[in-house]
Symmetry: C3
Subunit: 303 residues, 3 copies
Amino acid sequence: MSLRAALRNKHAVTGLFSQLSSCSSHVRVRGSPVLVTQQRKSSTTPRIKVEFNQSTGVAIMHMQSPPVNSLSLDFLTEFCIGVEKLEMDKSCRGLIITSSQPKVFSAGLDIMEMYGKSPERCGEFWRAVQEMWLKLYGSNMAIIAAVNGSSPAGGCLIAMTADYRIMADNPRFSIGLNETQLGIVAPFWFKDTMVNTVGHRCSEMALQIGLLYNPSEALRIGLVDQLVPEDQVLSTATQTMTKWLAIPDHARQLTKTMMRKPTIDKLTSSRETDIRHFVSFITKDSIQKSLAMYLEMLKKRKG
Amino acid sequence: MSLRAALRNKHAVTGLFSQLSSCSSHVRVRGSPVLVTQQRKSSTTPRIKVEFNQSTGVAIMHMQSPPVNSLSLDFLTEFCIGVEKLEMDKSCRGLIITSSQPKVFSAGLDIMEMYGKSPERCGEFWRAVQEMWLKLYGSNMAIIAAVNGSSPAGGCLIAMTADYRIMADNPRFSIGLNETQLGIVAPFWFKDTMVNTVGHRCSEMALQIGLLYNPSEALRIGLVDQLVPEDQVLSTATQTMTKWLAIPDHARQLTKTMMRKPTIDKLTSSRETDIRHFVSFITKDSIQKSLAMYLEMLKKRKG
Amino acid sequence: MSLRAALRNKHAVTGLFSQLSSCSSHVRVRGSPVLVTQQRKSSTTPRIKVEFNQSTGVAIMHMQSPPVNSLSLDFLTEFCIGVEKLEMDKSCRGLIITSSQPKVFSAGLDIMEMYGKSPERCGEFWRAVQEMWLKLYGSNMAIIAAVNGSSPAGGCLIAMTADYRIMADNPRFSIGLNETQLGIVAPFWFKDTMVNTVGHRCSEMALQIGLLYNPSEALRIGLVDQLVPEDQVLSTATQTMTKWLAIPDHARQLTKTMMRKPTIDKLTSSRETDIRHFVSFITKDSIQKSLAMYLEMLKKRKG
């Protein structure tokens, strides 16, 4: 899906690399209950829109990178800057992540970032993926994923880093780590995050055959926590957040750290090895070839 | 709940500290199928009543410390002595833990033991909590928790150390580790016990927001194993115990040790650090302040 | 069950030791969609029959050691040779394991191999059990267990090494690690495999009291993945295998290794210790005595 998306907006994506990373869309509006604003720099639309409600302490982060919120290097950079700013703001206690794109939460890693790129570039990309995970999974904020569309691969990873997952009950949506279907392999920290969410057995099967679950199945195995009608995903997330913020921050944060630190430490202590491993895998001729074939197939499907 | 209880019997509790620890209620009556006796020393009623049935090899331990079986230092001391005596008696193969108090199994750690106490006293208290967990979780006896009432925090911990949990199917009862709701944090070995019982994901959510589950929910997530009508909790526990004791002791014990030793070793090898950590946390001004506020709130609620 | 079986074919079993290990039933028939052949050497029927479909890349291994596919040393040797040959054949990508015996998948370890045998012989037997587990749990092939009958103890272990388990929906069949019911203890790697399949809590209870689950219960706890009518077990396995083989081998294999390597490494690094531990346990007078009593009981039951 990410690939299909990447193809659709191929020119846009490849034309925007690295010039957007300085474009922050993080907007703080103090003193008013809810205010939506959107920072625009030159002609570029931010890929992330942040609404922060000072009175509740809750920020809503809208992913709005057409068509399917693919996780390109630029997207990741912007995303991380957004999360970091909220993290450093003591008044922001909760974060809701959702999508402004129809039918998709995030289509996952942008395959165009892995196809035909230099090892250096691939490494830079992978470091950004790691950074996103580290920031989200280790966040002191209470995070709720308002999964209002399909969420394959990296999209599923974002959802799994949250403390609570609410998904739109639309049977056409799906969620899961489907990397093997493209001939690639989820790294150990994707795997660890999934095992922490749905257990060892479910992860073993889902990861091996790249399973995508519809919302009912995802609820059954615990990949999401709650299903609601499509138009209530965000409002339910907002209501749920009040329950999480009713708990004293220090107690909730210490507990979260106790649960997640061992998993986070595993990546922190091996980031460079993990990057080298990814780069050497993804730049293999055989892997590049299967990505090329996949891209070709999608082109034909479109035609 | 423990706090509310602590308030209700505040004077009783604070007046009884440390003088009861030598009062054992462990009573052995040999040669008769079931005999209930109760040791009374001076004017003090034992907090624990033990019935041992020599013919079945099963002991029933009734927690009977009004009003809500709060785990005070004295209660813990008496409890541990009771368990240790049974453990050393080769003829005792199974232990059923239940409550004599109406509507509550145990309300958990006695908050009065953590409020306004000296660091030394806090450390002594915490060591007793550790000791109770080590004795129960590492017991060679088959242990069944007959959860005939609410079981928050430390009460839930006791239940989780058992090999099997039967709960009264009364929707007004609840069970869970709700420490964060009071601004305190369950230590790593409470967490480990919960992860071993309901898995990583369930524990992560439940511990962060201090979830208390009603019996149906508790059954669904595996926090208890069986629900029965309130008046059948103890009889079901007794029947179930026969299944456990049908297994040769050595095979069952070796298997239990294989499952639990790694978790037990983690605390055994870091008891002093864990005590220091608890004392330094609980004696913080901010924590004492929030305990004080909580106590104040409960006083008003009573008034 | 294994014991009962062992008794039934006692003379056959004890008369065949070690002379069958060189009898391979692995048959490769190239160029035809499905061909069943069976190698016969002198008067001995192979305990394993392998059908390999060159066009699909899927082998079906039928266990056919009357009456109940007990895992004797000879059976294990033949089984391992069969698996190894398939493993080394690059054209074989998937393996389905099933039984040719009525009502039983495999009755588990042959107790006659543990009763009244020399320590050397016991050690040789145990090494073969380890070898079977290492080969199956670490296989690069996609393995599906077509569990068309009861599957206690070692039979359950074989099923749990598979990537997917389909069981016949016959309430008289059962599956589980019931070792403690015979007074013996499942070793840590049986336990690890079970924890990886059904989680810590389920394993702790099931292993302690040697639970055997009927198919519905096994499905509910995740010990099997799917129930189908008895006559559709093998056909469903074949259909399911196409889904597993739709995934590029390298991606599926790397993922499987990532999930299972830590568990496999634990045994690989302690095989000799594990063998010594088993031999010293099984040759104890008390254990031999309880095996003898069990054998006597079964004899009477038959008489």
